[in-house]
């Protein structure tokens, strides 16, 4: 063999090896029926915000094994006892946004909340025809209690003393301590403890290494096929869909649902315009403005500006209370009054923000329960700066922002005051540098030129931790800028590991969120229970979610304990929630700013009937598992 032949042969061999690898890297699971089988009036295509799913054949959702979650797996195949919708819920099928799913009725506690009894539905079938019974629930709990490392093993092993099935349709829990919110483990907000098929898992030697492929379904859809590279999943409607809890709400209309993930923002726009996506999880504000303008079929949660869906999550400026400079509430209030809500809204969301001055997200049913009723209280609310008394609340901020964006978006911007409240928020603090100065002076701070000095004579300087990108990054940058302009040395610090650092207390001010609620229900325990001082750790230790501030207050503990003492649906829960809001205003432990608005859009090209602010039966943000109810409400545009 001469030298040339040797080199050519080597090159060809290498190419062949590479091509062979490409074929072997895939497997038969990637095969799918011809696309013609997925005609568009029978198929919904949904954008899943997960990146590349690294372990695409992993469907064991009870173990964190690198499989997808919102790829249809938890929306279409999983089920549990109750669902609590972050919006209104399907009328007539839910009560106060609560669905009885696998449970036939609401939870029943004994008087001291140490036992919970659940009556289950009859006639619900797994996709292999086996009936769902109380044994599945008992197995779900006991298996995870005895297997550390499973998704809900910690939740069960720290709370459950015993779980039994007195009959096939009744489950009885005995708890280790009184807990009036134990049912929350089985109540879906984004997800919850999903029920395992006992008859499958009891035959598995090691559940921690079991991939559960293909997954059995307790939902109305089963797996058709998936991409071995982890970017798409196809699900088919079960013929016996009426033997699932979704069937009790209505017949799901799509015969097939395709979830596609790892789609860059630009590609999402193009794919929806090309008819290859019906639901997009999120876009940038600018991307949303562009697509709703260019494509009349596309719309968001609000039919006009600001389009986005407000999630029951509340971005805020979080102070680290274990840093001495933030331990005086006058300082925290002063920092709040240095901010300009209009600037924050424009910089972060281009005006499409829904503001909230109180520590409750302005979404779901919260405006009805909290923001609306508290409006007059807010208007009258007064703070004593030590020099003067001021009323810091400005109920016209939403109107001002609406007027600012109207020249660009015209008639898409609402004019009705009620609509403005819903879209832009009920109001926020008016920037008041004079009051801020008085508060800081009262706290012992002094001014050296334009620079504030702390009571110990040091420059009032701190970093504002922000994520790498997105609206929260923009929000944090403008906040740091506004504080700097007011004489505080605040510098924005991009932190790729922002959640690790906030948990470790390695921050001064963090732009993130310490409040997430049910959305459709006024109970605040979802985040508030973890605010109890018993959970606040020493500096250097990891703080459990969500009291990142490490805020302690005896009155706060009292409120939490009162909430623990009443049932989830007890009207007193709302009263205590309002008490919390007022205490928060008094203390300003963090500065709530706006809801986390998700620019989720849907296309009416092939399907209509999507939820929106007028018909708020479900959350349109595609990775929430309660989005499954949408599939019972939409209709194809052509027969």
């Amino acid at each position: 063999m001469d030298r040339r032949s040797f080199m050519v042969g080597t090159a060809v061999g290498a190419l062949m090896l590479g091509a062979k690898g490409l074929a072997f890297a895939q497997d038969a699971e990637g095969s799918a029926p011809p696309l013609n089988d997925f005609v568009r009036n029978e198929t919904v295509i949904v954008h899943n915000p997960e990146g590349v799913i690294r372990n695409p054949g992993w469907f064991n959702i009870w173990v964190n094994g690198g499989g997808g979650t919102s790829n249809g797996l938890h929306q279409l195949t999983m089920d549990t006892l109750w669902y609590i919708d972050p919006d209104g819920g399907v009328p007539g099928k839910s009560e106060n946004a609560i669905y009885n799913a696998l449970a036939a009725e609401p939870w029943q506690y004994n008087d001291d909340f140490t036992e919970m009894t659940v009556k289950l539905r009859q006639g619900i079938l797994w996709s292999d025809g086996v009936e769902f019974t109380a044994d599945d629930v008992v197995y779900t709990v006991t298996k995870q209690m005895e297997t550390p490392g499973m998704q809900w093993s910690g939740a069960f092993s720290t709370q459950v003393a015993e779980v039994t099935a007195p009959d096939p349709y009744t489950v009885h829990f005995t708890l280790q301590a009184p807990n009036s919110r134990f049912h929350a483990i089985f109540s879906v907000r984004w997800n919850a403890a999903w029920i395992m098929p006992k008859h499958v898992f009891e035959k598995v030697d090691d559940v921690l290494t079991f991939d559960y492929n293909p997954p059995l379904s307790l939902g109305a859809y089963t797996l058709n096929s998936f991409d071995p590279n982890g970017t798409w999943y196809i699900w088919d409607k079960r013929e016996d869909w009426d033997k699932t809890t979704l069937g009790l709400v209505g017949q799901p209309t799509p015969k097939h649902i395709i979830y596609r993930n790892n789609i860059s923002t630009d590609n999402r726009l193009i794919e929806m315009r090309n008819g290859n996506l019906d639901m997009i999880h999120d876009l940038s504000p600018e991307g949303t403005f562009s697509i709703v303008k260019e494509d009349p079929n596309v719309h968001g949660w609000f039919t006009g500006f600001p389009y986005a869906h407000p999630d029951p999550t509340l971005p805020m400026a979080i102070f680290n209370h274990q840093k001495p400079m933030f331990q005086d509430k006058r300082v925290r209030w002063a920092l709040a009054l240095m901010l300009d809500a209009r600037a924050m809204s424009m910089a972060s969301y281009r005006g499409a923000a829904t503001l909230s001055a109180i520590s409750i997200p302005p979404t779901g049913t919260h405006p009805r329960d909290y923001h609306g009723p508290l409006q007059q209280f807010m208007i009258d609310y007064e703070i004593d700066t030590g020099t003067s008394k001021v009323k810091p609340y400005d109920p016209t901020i939403g109107q001002q922002i609406a007027d600012m964006v109207r020249p660009q978006f015209g008639d898409d911007v609402p004019t009705d005051p009620e609509a403005i409240n819903k879209s832009f928020g009920f109001g926020w603090w008016k920037q008041n540098l004079q009051a801020a100065e008085e508060l800081l002076t009262a706290a012992g701070f002094t001014k050296n030129g334009n620079q504030w000095m702390t009571d110990t004579g040091e420059p009032f300087a701190f970093s504002v931790q922000i994520p790498q990108e997105g609206v929260i990054n923009r929000l944090g940058t403008i906040i740091a800028q506004l504080w700097s302009q007011a004489g505080v040395q605040a510098s924005a610090e991009v932190a790729p590991d922002i959640w690790d650092r906030v948990g470790a207390g390695d921050y001064e001010v963090n732009i993130g969120w310490a409040v997430e609620t049910w959305g459709g229900h006024p109970d605040l325990s979802f985040f508030l229970d973890s605010y109890h001082s018993e959970y606040v750790v020493e500096p250097g230790q990891i703080q459990p979610a969500r009291n990142w501030m490490r805020w302690t207050n005896p009155k706060l503990d009292e409120i939490i304990e009162k909430i623990r003492g009443v049932d989830f649906n007890d009207p007193k829960g709302l009263e205590y929630g309002i008490e919390f809001v007022k205490l928060h205003l008094e203390e300003m432990p963090n500065i709530p700013i706006m809801s986390y608005n998700v620019f989720s859009v849907q296309s009416n090209k092939y399907w209509t009937g999507w939820p929106n602010i007028e018909n708020n039966y479900a959350n349109p943000v595609t990775n929430w598992s309660n989005g499954k109810y949408i599939f019972t409400q939409i209709k194809p545009t052509s027969a």
Binding site: Q26, A32, N64, G154, I185, P228, N229, N267, I270
Partner: protein, 334 residues
């Protein structure tokens, strides 16, 4: 010949030393990273969910034990090498308990095929055109080609890729803009699959070729411009040797040696992936796998990707070192 083998043995020793040091350095960097795999996993498991603080603490303890991160660093280091010599890089922590190498081998062929193809195309086109442009310095077509090459090369890659995306995905939607192959084909040795893979690779490969050939072109043109003034070229021309022979055997062959060295380095870099290409065209590959691994604190997976990359670059250099004396007899091996 004995000298050549001694030369090869010394280079092989260097290869092992480089691989050992590279992997050890990567081990230390990944394990000293402030990103905790346990906290990352807890973040994924508890985000948006309702877990009591006691439950989270219990999960933290369980995951710490499962991931083996409670051991002293030095023990983890020796355990790592003990596993590595058996070809085991341990389980991925973002896809626990799947072996990290399994994830790498899933992504690797996509990256290798895409980059290998596009690099070879850019190398051949850039060098041949560069050589011709250097030899025929008054040719109008080659001058124009040079202007195009110099015009495209400074454009940021993302812009070129985005233009291709908009033109061929939206304005004139004739090419797929997402994924490695279509949903309706069965992976394997069949025409439909191969055709779909090729079709999906057109846009990402074109974007890499467009921004890549300029540097080869400019480098080769400069090299050839110097070589054509050498005495042996003038002598060959005076001796009436055919122009094709002069260009192919005397000019390009001599200019190719440094370009081949650069090619080997570039091919070694293939194993690090192309993050932007993968993100713009949602193309499978190693780049985004590495980003996910870093963000998730998955040091096993970072080490797996890095080990493949370090070994590939070192091996590529080793092969070039071995080929050098064969390609250029002037290189001494004694």
């Amino acid at each position: 010949m004995q000298g050549y083998f001694w030369f090869a043995a010394k280079r092989a020793a260097q290869l092992f030393a480089v691989v050992f040091c590279g992997i050890s350095a990567t081990f230390m960097v990944t394990h000293l990273s402030p990103i905790s795999p346990v906290e990352s996993a807890l973040g994924r498991m508890t985000a948006r969910s309702n877990f009591a603080p006691e439950a989270v603490e219990s999960m933290r303890a369980a995951l710490t034990e499962m991931y083996g991160v409670n051991e002293p660093l030095i023990n983890q280091y020796f355990n790592f090498w003990a596993r590595l010599v058996h070809g085991d890089l341990g389980p991925s922590l973002i896809a626990f308990p799947t072996p990290a190498m399994e994830l790498v081998m899933r992504a690797l062929p996509w990256t290798v095929c895409l980059l290998l193809t596009s690099i070879l195309i850019t190398f051949v086109v850039g060098n041949v055109m560069g050589a011709l442009a250097g030899y025929n310095q008054n040719n109008r077509f080659l001058k124009a080609f040079g202007v195009v090459a110099m015009g495209i090369q400074p454009i940021p890659y993302y812009i070129v890729a985005f233009i291709l995306l908009v033109v061929f995905g939206f304005i004139w939607p004739v090419l797929p803009i997402s994924g490695g192959f279509a949903m309706n084909v069965t992976p394997g040795w069949n025409l439909a699959y191969i055709g779909s893979v090729l079709q999906h690779a057109i846009l990402p490969a074109s974007s890499l070729v467009l921004v890549g050939f300029g540097s080869w072109f400019l480098g080769m043109r400069a090299l050839v411009s110097n070589i054509v003034t050498e005495d042996y070229v003038t002598y060959a021309e005076l001796a009436g040797v055919k122009r094709r022979t002069i260009v192919g055997s005397y000019v390009i062959r001599n200019a190719a040696v440094p370009q081949l060295t650069a090619l080997a380095m570039t091919l070694g870099g293939v194993f690090s992936g192309t993050v932007i290409t993968e993100q713009v065209f949602n193309y499978p590959g190693l780049g985004s796998l590495l980003v996910d691994a870093v963000n998730g604190g998955d040091f096993s997976l970072v080490l797996a990707v890095s080990t493949v990359s370090v070994a590939a670059v070192a091996t590529a250099i080793f092969i070039v070192d071995l080929l050098h004396p064969l390609l250029d007899p002037r290189v001494r091996t004694d």
